[in-house]
Point group: C2
Chain length 195, copies 2
DNA sequence: GTCTATAAATCGATAGAC
DNA sequence: GTCTATCGATTTATAGAC
């Protein structure tokens, strides 16, 4: 018979499930403790603060998200598809993890202060910027930065669209927008200068 | 000599200045009272709750934003420019009012519950959807809905990009993305069917 | 209409025992 | 490592006087 996971894991599981659906600031520590069936003292023994628990949950999210994105980039078979794999990965990721919109942007919106949590949010943006620039290079050459900026904005727009009550169609629209941008760079002769 | 504005106006001014820069939930009523130099009792006599004050501040924002957008649409002199005036209006609006990203999306992100506040957020999205569909009609004809969706997503992406620390370049990138989408529809013969 | 003072509730974190 | 009980701070909202 299956052993019950340790308190630390139960806390992280509960945090991941509730925090980014109900909101980080909106969810009291109490709620996490109830869902994980853990006492306050145990939680503070493991993490030291709510902030630290949130940061650890976010780091796990970022790590998993990176994996999913990687897999979809590898599965794609041409340069444009690899660039747009971001949107396919998003669709897949949203099926395995629940979140109202984007855990990182949501946390950025709620936490102005600097600290451990803000660092993970920054790391997410850095990951997106670097990888998109890399993936845009074969498509747009010397103008890769421009294209990467456009794809990141379309991706960010897709995520924020969920706040407007838009259903999954936002992924389709965002992908289409990014595809238009990619094609615009493909037919542009100046863009292949650096390839 | 200038008469001091009544307490109600001072409260709304302070709310507009602080609430959407520091965050609605993050800003205590106390802070607004101090900035407006108004006592708690007076505030609750006028508005009844923090929620109601926030809602009124948001309604004023929406009203002013609509004015600015209108002016930029009227100033534009062709169909594509009128559609993209949204981004020029945003640039202008951001110079006269301070906000971390978008007052409406930020409020949507912080408030899950239904109520007065959520209604204003919904009204903002409805305003954008309806007007963009109208403005996209002359450009994309029967495919106006597709184009309107794309422009709204690019706009939403521009706003949310501010959370990533992107400076004003987000407006430029978003506008470029929307322009690509518009041009893609212009050269598409199927899109003018309904014009 | 506006004030001072305080109630009432919520929430993050700790003390001390097992 | 984990628990029960509680502290201390913060925050929304109200009571009662002027």
């Amino acid at each position: 018979m299956p052993t019950r996971p340790p308190a630390r894991d139960r806390l992280l599981t509960a945090a991941d499930a509730v925090l980014f659906e109900r909101g980080v600031r909106t969810t009291p520590v109490d709620e996490l403790l109830r869902q994980a069936d853990v006492s306050p003292a145990t939680m503070y023994a493991h993490f030291g603060s709510k902030e630290a628990l949130v940061a650890e949950a976010l780091r796990r999210r970022l790590s998993r998200w990176q994996q999913v994105w990687d897999a979809h980039v590898l599965a794609a078979d041409d340069d444009v598809s690899r660039l747009l794999a971001l949107f396919d990965a998003l669709a897949a990721y949203r099926e395995e993890r629940t979140a109202r919109w984007c855990a990182f942007l949501a946390t950025a919106a709620e936490h102005l202060e600097e600290g451990e949590v803000a660092d993970v949010v920054t790391a997410d943006t850095a990951l997106l910027s670097e990888r998109l620039l890399h993936l845009a290079r074969p498509v747009a050459g010397a103008r890769a930065q421009e294209l990467a900026d456009e794809v990141l904005l379309a991706y960010t727009g897709t995520l924020a669209s969920f706040l407007r009550g838009t259903p999954d169609s936002a992924i389709t629209v965002g992908r289409r927008l990014a595809e238009s941008a990619a094609r615009a760079h493909l037919v542009d002769p100046a863009s292949t200068t650096g390839s």
